[in-house]
Amino acid sequence: MAAVTAGSGAGSGPAGSPEATGGSTGGGGWRRPHGPLQRYYGPSTAEAAEAAPDPTDINGPHFDPEVFMTKVRNECPLGQLLAREAALGREIRALDSDMQTLLYENYNKFISATDTIRKMKVDFRHMEAEMDDLAANMAAISASSARVSAALQDRHRRGAQLAGVQALLRKLQALVEVPGRLRCWAGTEPARALRCHARARAVLRHYRHLPSFRAIEDESHAIMADLARRLRTRLREEKLDPKELTECVEMLLQLEEPAEELSEEFLSQAGTRLEAELAALEAELPAADPSGTATTPPPPASDILDFVDRGSSAFVGTLCQLAGSYRALFGGDTGRLEPFAAALATRYFTLLERRLALERGLGDTSLLVRALDRFHRRLRALLELLPAGADAAAALVARAARERVDRYLRALQTFFLGCLGDVRQALAAPRPPGKEGPGLPDLLATLAASVLGQLKAVLAYVQLFTARDVAFASLPYFKGEFCVTAVREGLVVAFVRWLCRTARGFADGPAERGAPAAPPALLLLLARLCLDYENSTISYILTLTDEQFPPQDSGPAVTPGPALCAEARAAAQRLLDHYVQVQGAAVAQMLRKSVETRDWLGTVEPRNVRAVMKRVVEDITAIDVQVGQLFEEGVRRAQSSDSSRRAFSVYSSSRAPGRYAPSYTPSAPMDTHLLSNIQKLFSERIDIFSPVEFNKVSVLTGIIKISLKTLLECVRLRTLGRFGLQQVQVDGHYLQLYLWRFASDERVVQGLLDEVAASAAHRCLDPVPMEHSVVELICERG
């Protein structure tokens, strides 16, 4: 089937398919009349072979009318036969008319073709004759042409000869003119003379055996030697700018002067010039002071940027230019150039360093950064030919940066001390009665804010060194070490450390020997400041620093934040402890004097609370207010319901059993203070001068403990009369009434006061205590 389709592809007639033809209703197959014609003209053998077996195909080549007829007759009903017969008749008629049409068309064409062929035969006969004529003419032409060229040959040769002579003559003319030209140009345009000489030289050398040429050569040689001499003189004596110098040396080289000698002279000439530049720069600096004990030099005339600008454009520019031309002139051999340039560059660095050292103030950092940047940029060109200088230059920039950072640290420290001075002044300033001065929180806030602000400002300034548009910021030093060692460690960490140290200094320092002690309020303020640093400020500062100066992973080790915090905390603790001690000592001193100076034996019956006790309560209240301004309240132990009871209370908390097994030797038949001893056995040991916590209650407790313990020890050193004991009783009750609310644990106050009372009773010759109600009455009245 596939083969049939392929075969009928040319004709594209589905009509030829066996289905259509082989169908019992074969009468519908004549839709395209040209199909059978085409098939007739181009049937493929394969198609023929394929279609062969069907003798009933009316269009097939193997059509057998007999078989067809028999088949039709056998198979079809009459109606169908009739229709078939009619259809066949129609088809036959159509085919006949087609055949007739084709016949007519082709006949006409054939006739016209025959006519054309006949006409062509006639034309060709004419053409042949004309071709013969043409051949004869051509022969004649070629003969005469040969004659003409033979006649002209001689003249042509002579003309060419003459032209050659003329060229030669022109060259000779030029050669002869060389000395004159050279002479003419040697003075004004040596370069042109050189070019001219270079052109003529080879020829002259070649023909020097001819006397006339020799004369010319000698003359031009003489001129050139003269020129060389003059150039040398110029090289040696005149001040040439680098371009002239280069030209001059270049010409000399062309004159085949010895390169070795020239390079030396070139360098010495260049050296002179560069020295002059350096001298000009140096002139701006104040004379170096060899003794090192420089009195403050006058401020430099121009700012650093200007200086660097001039230095780089004049010195570095010239040096680069000269080095470049040296290379161009003397080839790659830089054996002499390098030490020369290195020596000069070193001198330049020294000068710059001296100039930088003059930048004492904190002036404009951006100016410094720009100056260094420019220096670094300009130097880069130089460094290409002087790689050794790179390190020196980088080190110079790094040193300058480091120096500046150090200076900022000092400035920060000065600033902080200034702030502290202000605070001290504010604290010491006499206050008009009724009007409170600036409160401690305000002072603290001002101090902290201004210090932090200053630190931030400094960081911002320092950040200029690492700004993206600054060329040297991409140096490895500035990427890593500068951020970490210089800024983080050298500036921020060092400042915080210094701050803690300074604050501590107020506590550790001169408190007792010589120098005036810091006012307690300042101690308190600094303690709070250090605590704030520990809590938040340090981590904030470090985060800020790390953000602005990102540390490298592989960089040197940094001080961790917690270590700094610990330092700050230790300082805060030390300060607060010291505050407690100072305030406690002040109150204790008052109590001690009051006990020591009184005659406790001969005193009269107490009518009042002693004035010193009122003073103590007042002072402690004032301290409470002061501490409360800066520190939180703190936790108090649950209070007992009756805060004013005055009886021995057996404390619930017990001491841990001792680690020894003491062998106790009872010596007395009875213990007279059994009660107090038992009480002590179960009470907690109270550390008097012990570290306090960072809250108001703890601070106040510390101060009260110190005061009451002093009272206890002082009473024990005295001998009291009856009224003396009663006075102590009254005083103790008064203190109990007013002090318990300040302490973290009321029982501490009570315990100490109990001990005072007990000791007073022991030290009393006639221990008759006062009625408790009377004591209360006196205290309430007082």
Binding site: A511, E512, R513, A585, Q589, L601, G602, G658, Y660, A661, P662, S663, Y664, T665, P666, S667, A668, P669, M670, D671, T672, H673, S676, N677, K680, L681, R685, D687, I688, F689, S690, K709, E713, R716, T719, G721, H762, R763, C764, L765
Partner: protein, 387 residues
């Protein structure tokens, strides 16, 4: 270790005064004076039996008043001096007297502890130090290493040098000096230096420490503001003649070189309340004992400023090779100044600590509630120092 456990002895009265029996170099013996306003005061002679860890005591009555200070003669075991309060209804006066204890008590107790209470003996008064013109006696000092003939007492602002004559039966005031100045000056304590042929003493008043020459009775140095507050006690380094320790109400112990008094050589801040007493060990001056009203006794090792900063030196030729090696090892680990131990056996303020005069590794401390605790230097440290 059982041997290191403290031994505790309780007195029935409050007490402040404690002294070793200086002249006794064999037995460990301490004297304690009590303070009681209403009963007869006593002097307890406490013998410590080191072998058996037992305390024996004898009680002497001291009926003239409560004892504030006690000291014993360096030459005669039986002689001691006390400062005591004489109390009348309206006036308290502190006096001083030299006493002799009964002969049989001089060197150890021979009685059993049982009958002690029934059998109390009395001191024999040798002489009074007449202070009617000089004020309250703060302390009495015996000339160290002397023959027990010279004593110095401090009375208010006076330094009084007495000669004891006629076997201590008579005290003659040989010279005196007075501290002049603003306000009411009062000596709190003093020590007689064992150096310079016993010609120097040091005294404390208020916050200052002063040195005196006993020959001229003139002040030779003064440490103003030695402590932030009152100076409570001082002691001389027995081996380094210019070194002096002081303690006071600022909770600190300070060590001074008397040739340069502007700064202390060293400061200790271990106590949490006033330090009442500081004592150098008599033989090994790196051992410092302090007692404080925070109820603690602290033993410190101040090796760096001691006379043996590099440990005990042994002459080279005495060393065998083995010992040589040992020596080197010791040099390799230099000792650090440190607190050796904190003793917390006391419940009340400790007002006195003393080393035993017989055993350099033993000391006693006394707290106000009458508790006497005898402790030893930790054995490890002892061997470390000795070897």
């Amino acid at each position: 270790m059982e041997d290191d456990a403290p031994v505790i002895y309780g007195l029935e009265f409050q007490a402040r005064a404690l002294t070793p029996q200086t002249a006794e170099t064999d037995a460990i013996r301490f004297l304690v004076g009590t303070q009681s306003l209403r009963y007869d005061n006593q002097i307890h002679i406490i013998d410590f039996d080191d072998e058996n860890n037992i305390i024996n005591k004898n009680v002497l009555l001291h009926q003239v008043g409560e004892i504030w200070h006690i000291s014993t003669s360096p030459a005669d075991k039986g002689v001691l001096a006390t400062c005591y309060n004489k109390t009348s209804d309206t006036k308290v006066m502190t006096c001083a007297a030299v006493w002799r204890m009964p002969k049989e008590l001089e060197s150890g107790s021979h009685e059993s502890p049982d009958d002690s209470s029934s059998n109390t003996q009395t001191l024999e008064l040798l002489c009074h130090l007449d202070n009617t013109a000089h004020g309250n006696m703060a302390c009495v000092m015996w000339e160290p290493m002397g023959d027990g003939k010279k004593i110095i007492s401090l009375a208010d602002n006076n330094i009084l040098l007495w000669d004891l004559e006629e076997s201590s039966a008579k005290a003659v005031l040989s010279s005196s000096a007075a501290l002049e100045g603003k306000g009411q000056l009062k000596f709190t304590s003093g020590r007689w230096s064992p150096h310079h042929n016993c010609t120097q003493i040091a005294t404390a008043n208020d916050t200052a420490v002063r040195g005196w020459d006993t020959r001229s009775m003139r002040q030779i140095y003064c440490i103003e503001n030695a402590h932030g507050q009152l100076v409570r006690d001082l002691d001389f380094n027995p081996n380094k003649q210019y070194y002096l320790a002081s303690c006071g109400d600022d909770c600190k112990v300070k060590f001074w070189d008397t040739r340069n008094v502007t700064e202390p050589v060293k400061t200790l801040e271990e106590h949490s309340h006033w330090v009442w007493n500081v004592r150098y060990n008599h033989s090994h001056d790196q051992l410092i004992l302090t007692g404080s009203s925070d109820s603690r006794v602290i033993l410190s090792n101040m090796v760096s400023i001691s006379s043996e900063p590099f440990g005990h030196m042994v002459d080279d030729d005495e060393l065998s090779d083995q010992e040589d090696q040992h020596q080197e090892e010791k040099i390799k680990e230099p000792l650090q100044d440190s607190v050796i131990a904190t003793y917390e056996e006391h419940e009340d303020s400790v007002y006195a600590v003393e080393w035993s005069s017989a055993d350099p590794w033993l000391f006693a401390s006394l707290s106000y509630d009458g508790r006497l605790v005898i402790n030893r230097v930790p054995r490890a440290l002892k061997y470390h120092i000795l070897l």
